[in-house]
C-alpha cells in the first residue's frame, strides 16, 4: 500500500473531515500541551541568556605591586592574551581602581573622602573565553599565570564563582525536572487523548479488519492523521506561545526588566520553533502508533 501515498493522504483527510470533533480534540490537546512547553522553553532560553550575561563577570585579576614600564606592560598583556583560555586583558590603573572602589561602595563612598587615591594597586583584568568560565577553567589559567613573576598576586573570585555555578546547577536541575515532567505530561496526555479518539472509533477499526484490511492498511491513514493533527497542533502552539509572549512577557515586563538588569526577553530561536512543530507531528504519530496497537490486534 506504500506505493499510494496520495490515496493514504486522501483517506487521512477524509477521516478528519468525517469526525471533526475527534480531530479538534486531538489538535487542541497537542496545541495546549505544546504551548505550555513552548512557554517553558522561553523561560529556560532566557535564563540561559541571563546566565551567559552574568558569566561575563568571571575573570582573573592580577594585581601589579609595581607598575611596569609601558612597553613591558604591553608585552605582558600580549603574552597573557596568547593563552588559549583568555578572551581579553584590560589594564586598570591606580586612579581607575580608586574610582571603581568608590563607586562600588556607592552610597557609602563619602566615607573614603579623606583617603589618598593611590592606596589601591594597579591591576590587569583577564577575562575568559566562554567555554572556560568555570571554576576549573579559572584554576587552569591561574596555575599558568602564576609561573610569571610579575603576576604573583592573583584574585579570581573563587567564592563568587562557586556560588554562581551552584546557582546555575540549581536552575539546571529544577529546569530539567520540571521540563522533563512537562514533556512527560504532554506526551502522556496527547497519547491518552489520541487513544480516546481511537477508542471512539474502535468499531470502525474492527469492521475494517473484518472485511479484509491488513493491520498496516488500517493503521497507516490513522498514523498519517495523527502526524497531521500533531503538526497542526504544533503550529497552533507556536502561534499561542508567540501570542502569550507578546501579551505578557515582551511588552508588559520591559519596565520591570530594566530594574533587574536584563534588557529584554527573547522569543524562541528558530530551531526551537521548528522543534515545536516537528515535535507535534512526532507526538501525534507516536500517540497514534502506541494507541493503535491496542485497538488493532497484531
Amino acid at each position: 500500500m506504500l506505493e499510494r501515498p496520495v490515496y493514504l493522504l486522501r483517506r487521512a483527510l477524509r477521516n478528519m473531515l468525517q469526525s471533526p470533533f475527534l480531530c479538534a480534540a486531538s489538535v487542541a490537546t497537542v496545541a495546549v500541551a505544546l504551548t505550555l512547553i513552548g512557554f517553558f522553553a522561553i523561560i529556560v532560553v532566557n535564563i540561559q541568556l541571563m546566565t551567559r550575561d552574568w558569566s561575563r563577570e568571571v575573570q582573573v585579576i592580577a594585581y601589579l605591586d609595581v607598575v611596569p614600564a609601558e612597553s613591558s606592560l604591553k608585552g605582558l598583556i600580549e603574552e597573557i592574551a596568547g593563552h588559549d583560555h583568555v578572551q581579553g586583558v584590560t589594564y586598570v590603573s591606580r586612579q581607575e581602581a580608586y574610582e571603581r572602589f568608590a563607586e562600588r561602595l556607592s552610597q557609602d563612598a563619602d566615607l573614603l573622602a579623606g583617603l589618598e587615591a593611590d592606596f589601591l594597586p594597579a591591576s590587569l583584568e583577564i577575562s575568559l573565553r566562554e567555554e572556560f568560565r568555570t571554576a576549573e577553567g579559572v584554576s587552569t589559567l591561574v596555575a599558568a599565570l602564576k609561573q610569571k613573576k610579575a603576576l604573583s598576586d592573583l584574585r579570581y573570585g573563587q567564592e563568587w564563582l562557586e556560588r554562581f555555578e551552584a546557582f546555575v546547577r540549581l536552575l539546571k536541575v529544577a529546569g530539567a525536572v520540571l521540563g522533563g515532567f512537562l514533556l512527560f505530561a504532554a506526551l502522556f496526555i496527547v497519547a491518552n487523548t489520541i487513544k480516546l479518539t481511537l477508542y471512539a472509533r474502535r468499531d470502525e477499526l474492527e469492521i475494517m479488519a473484518l472485511v479484509g484490511a491488513t493491520p498496516l492498511f488500517i493503521k497507516l491513514p490513522f498514523l498519517l492523521e495523527g502526524a497531521l493533527q500533531g503538526a497542526v497542533g504544533g503550529i497552533l502552539a507556536l502561534g499561542g506561545t508567540f501570542f502569550l509572549f507578546h501579551l505578557f512577557l515582551q511588552e508588559g515586563m520591559s519596565a520591570v526588566l530594566l530594574a533587574t538588569g536584563t534588557s529584554h526577553i527573547a522569543f524562541l530561536p528558530g530551531f526551537y520553533q521548528l522543534a515545536i512543530v516537528a515535535g507535534g507531528a512526532l507526538l501525534g504519530f507516536a500517540g497514534s502508533l502506541v494507541s493503535l496497537r491496542k485497538f488493532v490486534r497484531l
Binding site: 500500500m1 499510494r4 490515496y7 477521516n15 468525517q18 469526525s19 472509533r201 468499531d203 470502525e204 474492527e206 469492521i207 475494517m208 479488519a209 473484518l210 472485511v211 479484509g212 484490511a213 491488513t214 493491520p215 492498511f217 490486534r297 497484531l298
Partner: protein, 221 residues
C-alpha cells in the same frame, strides 16, 4: 470447499454455543443454515471468517486449516469471502458508496474499476440514489442492503450471509435471493443463515439445521 471436524465453541466454561459439529460443504454449493434463536448459526459463521477460534476441532476452507492460521493471514482469508453480518457492521462515518467500495480499496483495485463495480451493485440492491448518504440516514432495510452490496461487490468465492433479509420486505427479499443465486451460479459457495421458512420454501436448497449448538438436520431436497 468448507470442512468442519468435531468443532466445538464455548464462549463460557459451562455452555457451548457449538457442539461437536462435523460438516462438509462443497465448492459452489448453496446451503441454508437454520435453527432457533441462539442455536449457533452466527457462531458458525464467525468461526468461518476467523472472528472466533474454535475451542476444539478443525476447520478447513479450500483445504487451508484456518484454526491454525496466523492472524496476519486472516485478512487474506477474508478477502476471498463476502460477509453479510447480522448487525450489518457498516462504517457509520462513511457514505454508502465508501462502505461498499472499502473491500475493493483494501484489495488495491483501481479507482475507476471500484466506482463502476460499486455503482453496479448498488443499483442491483436498489440504492443507486443514496450513494452519498451515511448509514444512519438510511432505513433499516436500506442498511441491510448496503451490507449485502458490500459482501457481493468482491465476487467472493465464499458468501456468508447471516440473516440477510430480516429487515427486508418480501419483494426486496426475492430480488436479493436472485442476487445470491446469480453469485452462486458464478461459482460462489453460499452459506445463508436464516429463519425464513418462506425463503427455504421458495428456493429449496440443502438445509443444515442447528439446535442448541448441535447439528440436528442436514437435508438436501
Amino acid at each position: 470447499m468448507i470442512q468442519l471436524y468435531g468443532v466445538t465453541k464455548a464462549y463460557q466454561k459451562d455452555s457451548s454455543a457449538l457442539n461437536d459439529i462435523t460438516l462438509k460443504i462443497d465448492k459452489g454449493e448453496f446451503v441454508y443454515i437454520t435453527g432457533p434463536s441462539g442455536a449457533g448459526k452466527s457462531t458458525l459463521m464467525r468461526l468461518l471468517y476467523g472472528a472466533e477460534r474454535p475451542s476444539r476441532g478443525q476447520i478447513l476452507v479450500d483445504g487451508q486449516n484456518i484454526t491454525r492460521l496466523p492472524s496476519s493471514r486472516l485478512p487474506f482469508l477474508r478477502r476471498r469471502m463476502g460477509i453479510v453480518f447480522q448487525d450489518f457492521k457498516l462504517l457509520v462515518r462513511r457514505s454508502v458508496f465508501e462502505n461498499v467500495a472499502f473491500p475493493l480499496e483494501v484489495q488495491g483495485r483501481q479507482r475507476f474499476e471500484i466506482s463502476k463495480k460499486v455503482y453496479q451493485i448498488l443499483k442491483l440492491v436498489g440504492l443507486e440514489h443514496k450513494l452519498q448518504r451515511l448509514p444512519l440516514e438510511l432505513s433499516g432495510g436500506e442498511q441491510q442492503r448496503v451490507a449485502i452490496a458490500r459482501a457481493l461487490v468482491v465476487d467472493p468465492s465464499v458468501l456468508l450471509a447471516d440473516e440477510p433479509t430480516g429487515n427486508l420486505d418480501p419483494e426486496v427479499t426475492l430480488e436479493i435471493m436472485e442476487l445470491f443465486k446469480v453469485a452462486n451460479a458464478r461459482g460462489s459457495t453460499v452459506l445463508l443463515a436464516t429463519h425464513s421458512r418462506e425463503m427455504m420454501h421458495h428456493f429449496p436448497r440443502r438445509t443444515i439445521a442447528l439446535e442448541a449448538g448441535r447439528l440436528v438436520g442436514d437435508i438436501t431436497p
